[in-house]
Subunit: 191 residues, 2 copies
């Protein structure tokens, strides 16, 4: 998606350690006009998939999911992150390793919010090694739901997650796919 | 706002310890149609206030803020919660006591996302003792920004926060104001 790629070139900040900071328009500060256009694009891509629910993970996925869901007319459910494995109540839970924070999070959704009738579209801001998308798929499958695909804002295509998950049959649509990225040379997008 | 009051009556769950669970439509699962109507109402109330930025706090405020901001055509900024007081970089930071989790959180926003030119509308899901709204005001004031008011989904009007903050001159508009609430007797809204 040209609009997003241009914005990443303009306002994305490449940091040491393979970090791309998009906090000024897609994360902690959110350009709702841009994100709403991204939602429109996700709907163009997945609009005929029969989506009944959009699933994401706090905190950075919520904005994208909430500005996508109105095009589909379906609710958003977000998984909460918890470091404790002492989870109470009737919940779905899947482990997710965070490379950013070098820790394991449990992603948790109350069982009542996903059912075997659901067709789930996963939405997230980044896809790199794929651990978050894998955990969200796991949550949906625990409920017996079908995952129709994953809509991602920014994919680091040089990392293994996208290839592995597509190899397992998951449909992934990423609006910006980064082929390479470095502090000196800037960003190259996949063509 | 009648639509929200009716939904709280229908799907809100009153728990022990003054807890109102609205997780099935306003928090962990989000009815984006309802929340978008709430955003329209916030715009009706604050549309002439010259708002340049909407400020909220993760995670439950993000959905409401993001579905309100398109009516105003302004960005959303959300404060992150951190338990550590060891905050790095050029950030604004304010303490906020969480009665739900019985702990102090630091609310943190990168300094670049709020400026002295900003007219800030605070958005949050609950107002009870007022600690989150107070901390968000503090963050805005640290940046030299003006707070034009706070738009709240659900106010527990029998708690002190709303009265105190209005007494200090803050304009607060709450879409549902609970006069009393108990497991046995249900919910009464302010009239």
């Amino acid at each position: 998606m040209k609009l997003l790629e241009e914005r990443i070139r303009k306002d994305g900040i490449i940091g040491e350690g393979d970090v791309l900071k998009i906090g000024s328009f897609l994360n902690q500060q959110i350009d709702v006009g841009l994100v709403s256009e991204m939602g429109r694009e996700f709907h163009r891509l997945f609009g005929d998939a029969g989506v009944t629910k959009i699933l994401t993970v706090e905190a950075s996925g919520i904005a994208i999911a909430c500005l996508t869901a109105p095009y589909f007319g379906v609710p958003v459910v977000f998984a909460k992150k918890s470091k404790t494995s002492n989870i109470a109540g009737n919940v779905l839970c899947a482990e997710c390793f965070s490379y950013t924070h070098n820790c394991v999070n449990n992603l948790i959704v109350p069982a009542e919010f996903l059912s075997a009738d659901d067709k789930v579209l996963i939405i997230d801001d980044f896809l790199a090694n794929g651990s978050a998308v894998r955990a969200l798929c796991d949550l949906a499958h625990q409920a017996g739901a079908e995952v129709v695909g994953a809509g991602i804002a920014v994919e680091k295509a040089y990392q293994a997650g996208g290839k592995e998950l597509r190899g397992q049959g998951l449909r992934i649509e990423s609006l910006a796919r980064i082929a390479s990225m470095s502090v000196g040379k800037g960003i190259t997008f996949c063509r």
